[in-house]
Symmetry: C2
Subunit: 260 residues, 2 copies
């Protein structure tokens, strides 16, 4: 099942996407809801971010090849994480499928994509075992963890490197029926595949992260966890289009523009 | 003026606190509101966190003495921040005035208080000058940035060191009429003053932080910025009571208990 959030006739609603038709839902996927019977063509609605998250968790470094590529660029030894220490991103930076990534005037040319799987939490959990961890997940969407590498290397925190307004495209919808091992992530810039990896080839998987996190913290419906990216990443610039496809979920597509 | 958020008769509302009386408000301080005329004694309501924040920003290292004390403990040279790089904390950890800080079973004895000024954003702003930055502030409350120092030193991120459930007491209310230079922060453990400093003696002040942050990000009504702490901090343990007083705002008081 696919959950979508959209604007139609000036109103923002959740809906269920079937056969390119959106059926309006009253309520939300995080609580009670009912189908209204009102259907619109997908092409007639404006897609919004799939939900407004409560806490925005991000695994950060979570694929070996990405660690090795990043270390090589800095001339350092790769430093693989030993534990599932979760990090954070910020909601101000979220934009929907189709909305532009805006590169600030004073950014360097090293603004790069990172295609990521996003786990959306649907149930409140604390101290959940790895075996039961995936039961709290409503579904999965796609994120692009856009990063300015010069700021990432030089600032004390990741605030503007990762959380500048528009640096977190997310969508286009939430897919609830996902077989993690079958997923493949492909990033395309202007239609050319620039990165491809098995999505579940993580250092610490979704279930392990959730189990470790909930030893100390409560996860709530509406929280989300971005799971990191693999491989090398390349610069994007104004005029480009960046697509992140995860097979079985969909394709998140965003144009890149320069700040005016 | 003091904004309070409270539970009374099973319902959570915003109110205005005057002369130990809470007047119920319909609406919120972040949008439209009106006074209802219903008044209750402060002692009859259960105080909640003053609001549910959107994005939880934290300055982290922002007082010289704190940097020097922390460096001395680690046998390192003090490393003063050169720029106002903002960090993040997480809402799961927030608790209200009076609620217990729960020390996890596997925490070391190095769980410590940090008394902090909290700036509450009331207006949406982007690219605001330092001169105009304070205009977006609704008011100020008090935070205790409880930290497990062993985890803080060893984990890749601050997730459990700073964001374990109950590690972020906040309150008791928001004071809108604040003269930053006149504020004094005092932390008391079991009634004994253990830390005292001029609240505004920051490396980077509130206006500077907001101006720098909004070069890249939009601040929204309901965001907040925790401004850091000064001086040495000491261990707290089950059975203790920790008070953070900021003169002119109030006193945030929380008991400490052990996880069962």
């Amino acid at each position: 099942m696919r959950w979508i959030r959209y604007q139609y006739g000036g109103r923002v609603s959740y809906g269920i996407l079937e056969d390119e038709q959106v059926e309006e839902v009253s309520g939300s996927p995080f609580g009670e809801y009912s189908r209204t019977g009102h259907r619109f063509p997908l092409t007639a609605v404006q897609i919004r971010i799939p939900f407004e998250p409560l806490t925005f968790y991000a695994a950060g470094i979570n694929y070996e090849e990405h660690v090795r590529e990043a270390a090589a660029l800095l001339g350092r030894e790769p430093d693989l994480p030993e534990k599932a220490d979760i990090g954070y991103r910020a909601n101000n930076a979220l934009i929907a499928h189709g909305e532009p990534i805006v590169i600030p005037k004073d950014a360097t040319e090293r603004v790069q994509y990172e295609g990521e799987l996003v786990a959306v939490i649907g149930k409140q959990v604390k101290r959940v075992s790895e075996d039961e961890a995936l039961d709290c997940i409503l579904g999965y969407t796609i994120g692009n963890d856009v990063s300015e590498r010069t700021w990432q290397a030089n600032d004390r925190t990741l605030w503007r490197a990762k959380n500048t307004d528009t640096f977190k495209p997310m969508g286009p919808w939430i897919e609830t029926n996902v077989e993690l091992d079958s997923l493949q992530t492909t990033v395309r810039v202007n239609g050319n595949a620039v990165s491809q990896f098995p999505t579940n080839n993580m250092i610490f998987g979704v279930a392990h992260y959730i189990s470790e996190m909930t030893r100390y913290l409560t996860l709530y419906p509406g929280d989300m966890v971005w799971m990191g990216t693999d491989g090398a990443t390349e610069n994007i610039k104004a005029g480009d289009t960046v697509d992140v496809e995860i097979s079985g979920i969909g394709t998140l597509s965003n144009p890149v523009i320069a700040e005016e």
